[in-house]
């Protein structure tokens, strides 16, 4: 990116001053090296978001921002319904409520090493991953309705996990005001065989070891310790969310002129929050959030059942479950006054700081766990929300590394077998139905996650708690 387009406000804060149709500035939080490496499209997209009606303070981009569709991936923007604010299907994306769930265990590396192959094979056999593999759960029409309204709470009521899990899921496992009636038959049909499936692309299920603890107090509050084993699940609302995103993107793009909204990019398709279409989308999107929460809850149950067979003494507890493609109604202080805002996070994680009332009591002092998924070789991070993050970007942080190389280029650079063998040499077992899928997700195709989380910490968005590396990766 051409740095001349930006004003450096501090070491890790860069501004694109309002020009043209921009109503507010665009602000990028990143190191100089990360900003330099970003595509110019990030600038363009962040500036386009700043043109949308009712946007509050600024259009933000996180340290892992990259060229997305409409919003940059790693984009955050808040809108005020009382000031003509909009909700954007493009600002949430197709994989509504895609997110990460982390499970802590009472295991250490040696426990897993003894049975690693068996564990990898059993997880791969029982957790449906990749295109063409279906789940074994079929929901009746009435049960689908209950799932869309109930989220992870519905799943727990059906025996997939325990009440204690729900305390550790955003929205306590169920987002309010979902309207299953706004979810089309096509979206339901697309979900019919996909409950309890992982999906493909960058989705995964990993057994990881905590290799580094940066904040001992927060790590203790989170149940993390050097050498401990955790499980991370990265997936979203599957076909149901994809179809809802598709349908409302089109409807909003066609309807925008009737609302007097001139879209700088059709992908920014949106509708006023206080319109029938805006409310309908919010109702459907929240149903998709509940679908994602239910899905990750079912996957947790499947993981526990595998561990119960392979490592019967294992106990798996939910550390936290965060979604990084959402629009949520939140109260934030703007110019000294609390305001109710619709906060879009597309490839960005909510990051409540210490003391936030929405956090469960056991996590309140440390702040919210911010789960950052990495590539299958480089590992992942657990961060904690900070109080400063509220004044930066409405309590938001990064969500992952972002690709450094297109799938096309990755495929020309590596073979799946090569990647699997190289990772096996490092003690990392990969299980996937597709060699090509593995090549496209090669660790070298991703940016340096360490640089991203360092920048998030330096910018005050979140602070580092622990780093993990995978031992087993089930690739979608």
């Amino acid at each position: 990116m051409d740095l001349n387009r930006l004003v450096r406000r501090s070491d890790h804060e860069w501004e694109i001053a309002p020009s043209g149709g921009m109503r507010v500035p665009a602000i990028l939080y990143a190191s100089k090296a990360l900003v330099r490496a970003m595509d110019d499209k990030v600038c363009e997209q962040a500036a386009n978001v700043a043109m949308l009606p009712g946007i509050v303070r600024a259009s933000f981009a996180m340290p892992d921002a990259h060229w997305g569709y409409g919003f940059p991936i790693g984009g955050v923007a808040a809108f005020d319904a009382k000031r003509g604010g909009v909700v954007s299907a493009g600002g949430v994306g197709f994989d509504i409520s895609c997110g990460v769930r982390c499970l802590t265990t009472n295991l250490v590396r040696a426990d897993v090493e003894a049975v690693k192959r068996m564990l990898a094979d059993a997880l791969f056999a029982r957790v449906p991953a990749g295109m063409g593999r279906t789940g074994s759960i079929r929901l009746s029409a009435a049960e689908t309705e209950a799932m869309l309204a109930g989220g992870a709470r519905w799943a727990v009521a059906r025996g997939y996990g325990s009440e204690a899990d729900l305390e550790r899921v955003e929205e306590r496992g169920r987002i309010a005001h979902a309207q299953p009636g706004t979810v089309s038959e096509q979206a339901r049909r697309r979900q019919r065989e996909e409950m309890g499936t992982l999906g493909s692309g960058n989705h995964y299920l990993e057994v990881q070891e905590v290799v580094e603890v940066q904040d001992a107090a927060a790590a203790a509050a989170y149940g993390l310790a050097q050498g401990a084993i955790v499980v991370m699940i990265h997936c979203g609302s599957r076909g149901l969310g994809h179809q809802i995103g598709t349908e409302y993107l089109k409807r909003m793009a066609i309807a925008a002129p009737s609302f007097g909204i001139a879209l700088p990019d059709r992908e920014l398709a949106c509708a006023p929050i206080d319109s029938d279409l805006g409310q309908e989308y919010l109702g459907a999107m929240r149903a998709a959030v509940n679908c994602a929460l239910a899905n990750r809850q079912i996957l947790t149950h499947l993981v526990r059942s595998v561990f119960a067979d392979v490592l019967p003494a294992a106990r798996l507890d939910v550390l936290y479950d965060v979604s990084h493609n959402t629009c949520k109604v939140e109260t934030h202080v703007v110019d000294g006054k609390p305001r109710e805002l619709h906060v879009h996070r597309k490839g960005a994680t909510r990051a409540w700081g210490p003391g936030h009332p929405e956090l469960p009591a056991a996590l309140r002092a440390a702040g919210q766990p911010v789960l950052i998924g990495g590539s299958m070789g480089a590992g992942s991070y657990v961060l904690a929300g900070t109080r400063a993050s509220e004044s930066r970007a409405f309590s938001s942080a990064c969500h992952g590394a972002g690709r450094a190389m297109s799938r096309h280029q990755a495929l020309r650079t590596w073979s799946g077998r090569q990647v699997i063998d190289a990772l096996a040499a490092q003690g990392i077992l990969i299980r996937s139905a597709s060699d090509r899928g593995v090549a496209e997700e090669a660790p070298g195709a991703y940016k340096d996650l360490g640089a991203v989380v360092d920048a998030a910490e330096a910018a005050g968005l979140a602070r580092k708690v622990a780093r993990t590396v995978p031992l087993v990766c089930i690739k979608g």
Partner: protein
């Protein structure tokens, strides 16, 4: 195989996008460009040449303009692939004004043989373009995977 033969007047290709995959179809007519864009969509999942034409799915859609019609066409294919567990290796498209009628020929996905890579989630409006170019037609957009 990721690219169709380079230099061919009728072809499909992928173009780079940071997070996702750009699909582009080129043809002598708009319909042909849409058929080729369909093959580029298939190629996100598997090599279109490795797909047998066993099942024939009829697709009909409409949109207010050419570009939204391309997005709609690709999204209908994504829907049929997802709900019928199919991959398509051949398309026959006829476009009349704002309406499209097509036959998508393919087979049920075979995980071992097709080695499905990324799953298309939806066709975006990013870089969405349907236009005359060099005496033919180009139809392109970015697909979220």
């Amino acid at each position: 195989m990721v690219d169709a033969p380079v230099g061919s007047r009728v072809r499909w290709e992928h173009f780079a996008h940071e997070a996702d995959v750009g699909v582009r179809g080129v043809g002598a007519t708009k319909s042909e460009a849409f058929e080729q864009a369909g093959l580029a969509l298939t190629a996100i999942v598997t090599d279109p040449d490795g797909v047998e034409a066993v099942e024939d799915v009829e697709v009909r859609c409409e949109a207010p303009d050419d570009e939204l019609l391309l997005a709609e066409w690709l999204n209908r294919l994504i829907y049929e692939m997802a709900t019928r567990r199919l991959v398509f290796g051949r398309y026959a498209v006829a476009i009349d004004g704002t309406a499209l009628v097509a036959h998508a020929l393919g087979e049920r996905i075979d995980v071992a043989r097709h080695q499905p890579a990324a799953e298309p989630k939806g066709a975006t409006f990013t870089t969405l373009r349907v236009a005359r170019e060099d005496g033919g037609w180009v139809a392109q957009t970015v697909v979220d995977v």
